[in-house]
Amino acid sequence: MNIKSKLVISLLTLAAFSHCTYEPYPQGKELYEAYCSNCHSSDGTGLKDLIPDIRNSTYYSTRKSQLACIIKHGLVAQDSTQVIMDMPPAPKLSNFEISNIINYINHQWNEDFKEVLILDIDADLENCVNQK
């Protein structure tokens, strides 16, 4: 094998590996680890019926337009819902950061991945401010 073909093979191998580990939302991943993973786990599985699983769960998928609000303002435990523990708010997160977190979660674990745009997040957060 000449040097050229060796180079091509090693480049191809590198490309194959880096493709597998490619993370399109690196900031989303970091923020997820910092803000979400203590409770929802690094693998998104949550904790039985105490902390919802966010991988393709109905709980998650039926609340898609509320996600930004929930992340920013948290949830308060109520008898009328399945939530028995508060979810703490993260008021310091910017809309951009929230969109990265949501895109990371969706890309990582939810089958029908469709990127949310910052405009959607702006609108969702506007709506939840109005609700309050």
């Binding site: 203590n38 019926d49 105490l50």
Partner: protein
């Protein structure tokens, strides 16, 4: 050849270590020629059914214990996930019980803990959730070598460590692990098994 000798020597040491019984942890002292070991003191705490539980309810059992509070936003869910791993493995072993202590007696009432156990989908005959006056639980945490105290600067209002502790039939602490570290918990499984073997010989 040298390498082989080294490996044999190493495996010898490792297996020796494996055969040693678990140590009795904590401070011990001599009295009249008898060694007195650290022992979990008498306690009386409310369980998830508002029934007082004491050491007598754990007699003839070994138990795995942790300290937490329901609204804890940091390490508690991580530790509970590991407790659940242990529970799933040993839930059918009649010798073992699980005891979780809430350090937040004000908010974690027995009925709140009952709901918590229900949502965690565990049998409270096997895994009890105890609460009491703040001081009572925090005092007893010391005896399990767990740091727990109120701290208004800490997330959720309490600072505490995420240790999981193994206690034998004689109320002696025999092993512990860091409940936030899944690998450490994997090693802890070996300690639990070792203690079980002590009683099943």
């Amino acid at each position: 050849m040298k390498q082989l000798a080294f490996l044999i020597l190493l495996s010898g040491f490792l297996s020796c270590k494996d055969q040693d019984p678990l140590p009795i942890l904590g401070r011990s002292f001599e009295e009249n020629g008898v060694t007195i070991h650290h022992t979990i003191p008498d306690f009386s705490l409310l369980n998830q059914d508002s029934v007082y539980v004491s050491n007598a309810d754990l007699e003839n059992h070994i138990y795995i214990s942790d300290f937490f509070f329901m609204s804890c936003p940091t390490i508690c869910p991580r530790v509970k996930k590991q407790m659940l791993r242990l529970y799933d493995t040993y839930k059918n072993d009649a010798l073992i019980k699980f005891v979780s202590h809430s350090i937040d007696g004000k908010r974690d009432t027995p009925s709140a803990l009952k709901q918590y156990a229900y949502n965690l989908d565990v049998d409270t005959e096997k895994w009890m959730f105890l609460t009491g006056n703040r001081g009572d639980v925090i005092d007893i945490a010391d005896d399990y070598f767990v740091a727990a105290f109120e701290d208004s600067d800490a997330p959720g209002g309490f600072d505490h460590s995420g240790k999981i502790i193994l206690v034998d039939k004689n109320r002696h602490v025999r092993a512990f692990c860091e409940g936030t570290d899944p690998d450490d918990v994997t090693e802890f499984f070996g300690d639990v098994q070792k203690l079980l073997n002590e009683y099943k010989k």
